[in-house]
Symmetry: D2
C-alpha cells in the first residue's frame, strides 16, 4: 500500500471513532441486531456495493441456533425503530431474527475473498465508573443490561471502514470481495447459518479477526494466526417431571430436580479422553417450585469443549447419553436444544504468512499468537468450510491495550485499533486480489 | 349452650360472610398481614377487649422465621395503607413484619384458655373461572398472585365472631380468655415466635382449628382431634463459590452448582430411620450464571419431615452435615437459614373429648379424624408448650364441603362453616371456663 | 391337653436338647442343608409318617431364589456325606439344592393344618467364648464360619418333637397334618418355591413360629401374632463395562464402577412414599481392577423393603429403573438377579386367638407382640397364599431369654423353649383338628 | 566405541539371553524382589564393584510407598530362599521390603554418572499359548499370577551386562559410575525412596531407559528422549463407618459405602484445569458386608495424573478434599495412604543429543519419540532431582518388535534388544566419562 493510501486510512480515524461510539451506545444481542444491521446495510448501499444481501438472504433460517423467543425479537425490533440512525426499510428486513448483512463487490476475474465481521453484543451491565473510557466520553450503553463487552462494535466499524476504503480503490481489486457482517457470534450461534446458506462455498481466501490485548499490552500490532480455539457444543436441557405434595404423596411425583442433579454430577464426571483436552460446564440450573412440592421442572444450560473435533464429539455424545439416562432414571423426560456450536479454527500456514506480510506492508508489527486460548469462536465453521474445499483461511488478532478482561463490565480496546484493522484488511485485499 | 344463644350465633351468619369476603379480597402473605392485623385489632378494641396486644408485643422479633426482605415488607405496608378498612394506627404497629394480634378477656378466677386463629394467605393465583364461588360472587383476590387458598380468611372470621359473641356473654366465663391471631402459619414460620414471647406459658387449655373437608363431603361437622401432623424443618441454603471462565481457567473457579448437585443427591439419600417415617425434599434450586462460567452461586429451598420429633431431628442434623460437607468438598461456603419449623401435634385425649362433647351441645355431629395427614402445622409449637407444662391441647377440624384441594386456585369452603366455628369455640369457652 | 400328655412332652426334654445340639454342631446354609434334611426325612420315615416328601417334591426348582453356585452345592453335599448321622439315601435326594422335607399325616376328614419349621443356618463365626452356652457345653459349630445364629436348629427340633408326639396321638386328629421343613429362610429365598409347588393350596390353617426374646426376658411365654414384618426384595446387580488404560486411553473404557456409584447414590435417594415406611440398602459393592485401569465390573448386593406390598413394589420398580439407567448412562450393561423376596405377614385374628388359647391350655402365658420388627420373614408367602384362598394363618413367637442379638456370634435361646414349642404346636393340632 | 568392543558386547548375547530368561521365570513384584536382588548383588560383588549397596543402604525406609503387608513380604522371602540361584546372604539383607541394589565404580576424577534399571514384575497371568515366545522356549513364569510383562527382566539384564562390560574397561572411565537397580517401579513406588536416601544428589548425568516398540516395529533402534510421562499420585482410601441392621435400625449405622459412592462420583467430576490435561480413576472399590447391613467399610484405589506438576497437584488436592468431605458427610472416617507417585520426566536437550550420538557411535539408528505416552514412570523423581541441582537427565527407549501391549499376558520384546541396551549404556559411559 502506498504511503498516500495509508494516510487516507489514517484520516478516517475520527469518522471510525464516531461510528464505533454510536454502535457502542446501542448494543444489541444476537439475532436482535436490528439497528446495527440497518446501519450496515444503509452504509453499504450508499457506498454503492454491487450487492447488499439482507434478511433471509444472509442466514439459513433453520440453521440459526439459540434464537431468542418471539417476544424478545419483537421487542428488539420495536426498540430499534425508535432509535437514531435506524433505517426503517432495512430494519424491516431484519425482523424475526434475520439480522446480518453481506456486501459484495464484483471486480472481474480473480479469487473470491471473504472477510467476516461479527456485530452482536453481550448481556453485561456496563461499568458506570468514570475511569471507564466509554463512560468518561459519554458513549456508554443506552441499553441497560447490555454492552459491547467483546469489541464487536469495533469489528463492525473496521468492516465498514474497509468497505469505504476498498470501494474507492476497486480498480486495484480483481475477483470478488464479500464482506460478511455476521450476527450472533456470542454463544457461537450465527456462523453456521451463513455457511449453510452457501456463502462460503466459492471462497478462496477467508479472513476473520478479533480484537486482542491486555491492560499491559505495549503497542498496537497484528497477531498472525490465532490458534487454540476449542471445538464446543452448547446445549440447553429441560427436564420435565410431575409435581406432588412432598409430605403427603411424594411417590406421585417425578422429581425433575433429582434427575437434573444426577445429570450435573455425571456430566462433570465424564471420563477424560486421550483425543484431546476437554471441558464441561453446567453454568445455570433453574428448578422452580415450592419447597414442599416435588419439583417438576429443571432447566440446565451447559457446554462441552475439546481441543479436537473428536474430543468435543466424545464429550457431546456422552453428555447427551447422561442427560437422557438421568431423565429416565427418575421417570422424567428431557428436551435438548442445541443452542451453539463451534469447531476448532484451522489456519492455513500460507495465509498466515500473508497476514504477517500485509501487516509489514501496512507499517505494523506482527507477532505470533500461537498460545492456547481455551475460548471458542464460530468463525471456525467458515474456516472449516473454506479449507474443506481447498481454500485458505486465517483468523488473526488486532492487538491493542485492552482495559479489563473480555466480557467484563470494564472491557475496552484502544480506538487506534480501528485504523489498524482497516489497514490490515485493506492491504490483504490488495495483496490477495491483485492481478496475476 | 342454650337455644337462644345458638340462634344468636346463627343470626351472625350474614355479618360473618361479609367479613370473610372482605378478608378474602385482600389476601396478605406471612408477616405482611398489615391490613388484616389492623382490622382485627380495631375490631377487638371496639368490642371492648381488656387487652389488645399488637406490634412487638405479639411475637418475639428474633424468633420469627422466614421473614420477607425489607423491600417486600415496606411494599406490603404501603399497599395496606391505601386499602379500604385499613386502620392506619394499628397498621403502623404492624410495620416491619410485626403482624398478629392477641385479644385478652380477664374474667376473674379460673383457667386460662387460648384459642388460636391463623391469618395469612398464599402465593397462589386465584381462579377466575365463574364456577369458583369467590369469582361468581365478586369477592376474589384483589392482590394478583396471592389468595386465601387455605381458609385462613375463614379462621380469622371465626376468631372475630367468637370474640364478638363471647364478650357479650363474659359473665358466663371464669378465668382468662386469649384469642391469638397468629401471622405466617404458611411455611410454619410464626407460631414459634408467639410461644417464645411467653403467651402460652400460663395456658391451661389450648385450642386450634383448621377448615377441613373435600368436594364429596356430605355434611358440616367437627373433626375432633386431628393427628398425624409431621414435625418439619424448612431450610434455605445458599452456596457461594467463585466464578471463572469455564473454557480458559476452570480451575480458578469454585463450583457452587456442583456442590449443590452433590447436596441434592445426598439429601435425598439420607438413610431411612426406625424412629419414624420421614420425608425430604429440595423444591427449588436456582443457580444463575453464564453457560461458559463456573457457577458461583446456588440457592436451595428444602425441607425435612418426620412422624416423630426424633425422626425429624435425625433428618435435620444429617441434612445440615451434608450441606456443609458438600460446600467444603468443592471449596465453597454455604449459609443456612432456618425459615420454618413445626413439631408433631399432641392432642390431649381429655380435651379431644371436650371438643366432641361441645360439638354435640352445639348441635353439630362430631367425627374422628385420626388419619395421617402428612402435612405440617405450627400450632404444634403451642400444643408442645402447653402440654409440656401440664396443660391440655386439642387441634380440631371444622369440616364442610370444600371445592378443590387445599392450596389450589379453586379452593373454597362452605361459608356455613363460619357459624359452625363460632359455635364450637364459644361452646368450648362456656364448658372450659364455667364456674366449678 | 391332658396333664399326662403335657408330662409326656416334658419327658422329651432331654431328647430334644440332644437333637438340637447335634443340629447346632453342623449348621448348613440355605439350600445346602443336606445332613439336616437327611436327618429330618429319616426321622419322619422312622416315625411312620404317611408321606415323607423330599428332593424335587418339596420345592419348585425354578422358584428357588439365591441358589448357591454348583461348586458350593457339591461341596456341601460331599461334606454332609462324611458326617455323623447323615443318611446317604436321603442326602442323595437333597443334592443340587433340593433340600427341605414335608411330612404328612392323613387322619380322615377334617381341616388341613400346615406347620412350618425353617432349617437353615447363617454365615456367622460362632463365639468361642466360654460364656457362650454352646461353647461351654461342647456343641458349638463344627463348620467354621457358619452358625445357627437365628435359632432354626431349635425350630427344626420343635418340628421333629411335634411330629413324634402327634403321631403317637393321631387318633385325636381329624383331617390332614403337614409338617413343612423349609430350606433357605435366611435371605428369604425358600418359602416361595414351596408355595409354588402347591403345598399350601389346600391348607385351612397355617402356622409358623420363631424363637423370640432378649437377654432381659423374664419368663418363657408365647407371643401370639407377630406383626410388622416388612415386605422385601433382594437383588444382585452385576454391571459390565469395558476396561482400558486410565492414563493412555480412558475414553476406550466403559466405567462400570462409575455406573455403580451413580446407582448407589440414586438408590438411596429414591423418594419416600406415602404407601408405607420404606428401606433401601446396598450392603456390598465389589468392583475389582487395577488402579490404572477403567474398571469393567461391579457387583452390588442390595435390598428394598416396605411396610406394605405397595411400598415395597414402588421401591423395587424404582430401584430397577435406576440400575438400568445408571448402566445406560455409562454405556455399560447390568444383569439383575432376584435372590430373595418376602411379603408382609398377615395374621388372621381368629387364629391369633387360637394360638393364645392353646398357650393357656398348655399352661403357658401368652403375650401380644404387636410391635414393629422391621425384619422380613418369608413365611409371609405361605400366609399370603393361605389367607388368599380363605384359610387362616398365624405366625407366633416362642419366647425365652436369649443371649445376644439375633444373627450375632453369641446368640442363644433357652433350651426349655424346645418343650414350649412342642406343647404349643401339639395343642394347636389338637384344637384345630378335633372332631366337630 | 571400537569395533572390537562392539563385538565383545555382541558375544555376550547368549549369556544375556540366559540371564534374562532366568529372571523371567521368577518374576517378583515390587519390594518382593528378593531373589532378583540377591542375584544382582552377587553378580556385582563377583565382578569386583568397588561398592555394592544393599538392604537399608539403598532405599529410605519411610519413603517407600505401597509396601506390601508383612505377610506378603515374609512369603516372598521364604519362597526366594528355596529357589535356584538365590544367594542367602544377600537375600537376608533384602528381607522386609529392602530390595534393590546400587553398584558403584570409583574411577578417579570426573563426573558422576547414574544409570537406572528397574527390576520388578507385575501381577499378570502369563500366557501359556505356544505362540508366546517364553512359553515356546520353556522359560515362562514359575510364579503363577505374576509375570515380567513390562520388560524389567530385560532392563535388569542390560544393567548387569553393562556392569560386566564397563568394569572390564574401567580404565577408560573417569569419574564415578552408579548402577542403580531400583525396586518397585510398577505403581511408581520405589524411586522416591532412593532419591530420599541421597543417591542422586551428586549425580551429573542421569540415564534411564525402557523397552519400547510394537508388533509392527521394523528394526531395533534407540528412541532418544521419551517425553509425555504424566505426573501422578496413587492413593488408597479406606472409609470406616458403623454397621447396623438395614431394616431394623438403619439410623444407627454410618454408611461407608454411601460415602465412597459420593467420593467416586465427585472424584471423576473434579473440574478440568488449564494447567494441563488430567486424568482421574478409581480402579477398585471393595465394600464388603451383608445385604441387610449398613456397610461399615469401603476400600478405594485411585490415581490422579496431570501433564504438568501443577495439574497433578491440583487434582491431588481436590481429590483429598473430596475424600475427606465425603467421609464427613456420612459421619465416617477415611484413612488415606499414598502408595505411589511420579513426576513428569524432564529430558535435558544436551543429554538427549548425547543419547542420539551414542546410538550412532554404537551402530544403531536413533529416532525421536516425542509423542505423548500418557503413562507414568517414577524415574521422573530422579530426573527431577538431578536437573534440580543443575545436572542433566535423559530417559530413552530401547526399541524392538514387541509382541502384544505392555502389561498384557503376551507381552514380549526381542532378545536382540539386550545387546542394544548394553551397547547404548556402555557407549554413553565412554562418552560422558572420558578424560577431558
Amino acid at each position: 500500500m502506498k504511503k498516500e493510501e495509508l494516510e487516507e486510512i489514517e484520516k478516517m480515524d475520527e469518522a471510525l471513532r464516531r461510528r464505533r461510539e454510536s454502535l457502542h451506545m446501542y448494543p444489541e444481542p444476537g439475532f436482535c441486531e436490528v439497528r446495527t444491521t440497518s446501519i450496515i446495510a444503509r452504509t453499504l448501499t450508499d457506498l454503492g456495493f454491487d450487492e447488499v444481501l439482507t434478511g433471509k438472504d444472509v442466514c439459513d433460517a433453520d440453521s440459526r441456533m439459540g434464537l431468542p423467543d418471539q417476544k424478545t425479537l419483537d421487542a428488539a425490533y420495536k426498540r430499534a425503530l425508535g432509535e437514531e440512525e435506524t433505517d426503517p426499510a432495512f430494519a424491516g428486513r431484519a425482523k424475526d431474527g434475520f439480522t446480518g448483512v453481506i456486501g459484495i463487490l464484483h471486480c472481474g476475474e480473480g479469487p473470491t475473498v471473504a472477510m467476516r465481521f461479527d456485530i452482536d453484543a453481550l448481556p453485561v451491565h456496563e461499568s458506570k465508573d468514570p475511569s471507564h473510557y466509554p463512560t468518561a466520553h459519554g458513549f456508554n450503553s443506552r441499553h441497560e443490561g447490555f454492552m459491547h463487552a467483546c469489541g464487536h462494535d469495533g469489528h463492525t466499524t473496521v468492516g465498514l471502514g474497509t468497505a469505504a476504503f476498498l470501494i474507492r480503490h476497486r480498480d486495484q481489486l480483481h475477483g470478488t470481495l464479500k464482506l460478511i457482517f455476521q450476527p450472533a457470534e456470542e454463544g457461537v450461534r450465527g456462523a453456521r447459518s451463513i455457511v449453510a446458506k452457501g456463502h462460503l462455498d466459492d471462497v478462496d481466501f477467508c479472513l476473520g479477526s478479533h480484537m486482542g490485548g491486555a491492560p499491559d499490552t505495549k503497542a498496537l500490532c497484528i497477531g498472525a494466526g490465532m490458534n487454540g480455539s476449542l471445538a464446543t457444543t452448547k446445549i440447553n436441557a429441560d427436564f420435565t417431571g410431575r409435581s406432588a405434595h412432598a409430605g403427603a404423596m411424594p411417590e406421585k411425583g417425578n422429581n425433575a430436580l433429582l434427575a437434573a442433579a444426577t445429570a450435573v454430577l455425571n456430566l462433570h464426571a465424564i471420563p477424560r479422553t486421550s483425543q484431546g483436552d476437554t471441558r464441561v460446564n453446567v453454568g445455570r440450573l433453574i428448578a422452580e417450585g415450592g419447597r414442599n412440592v416435588i419439583c417438576d421442572n429443571a432447566h440446565l444450560e451447559l457446554e462441552v469443549r475439546g481441543t479436537s473435533k473428536e474430543a468435543n464429539e466424545y464429550m457431546e455424545q456422552y453428555a447427551v447419553r447422561i442427560l437422557n439416562a438421568a431423565a429416565e432414571m427418575h421417570q422424567c423426560t428431557v428436551a435438548l436444544n442445541y443452542v451453539g456450536a463451534a469447531a476448532t479454527i484451522v489456519n492455513t500456514p500460507a495465509l498466515v504468512d500473508e497476514v504477517r506480510k500485509a501487516a509489514g506492508e501496512a507499517g505494523m508489527p506482527a507477532i505470533d499468537t500461537g498460545t492456547r486460548s481455551a475460548g471458542s469462536e464460530d468463525y471456525s465453521f467458515m474456516s472449516q468450510c473454506v479449507t474443506g474445499h481447498g481454500g485458505q483461511s486465517c483468523f488473526f488478532n488486532n492487538i491493542s491495550r485492552c482495559a479489563g478482561p473480555f466480557h467484563s463490565p470494564i472491557f475496552d480496546f484502544q480506538e487506534e485499533a480501528l485504523v489498524s484493522g482497516v489497514k490490515e484488511f485493506s492491504q490483504l485485499a490488495f495483496d490477495l486480489m491483485q492481478k496475476k
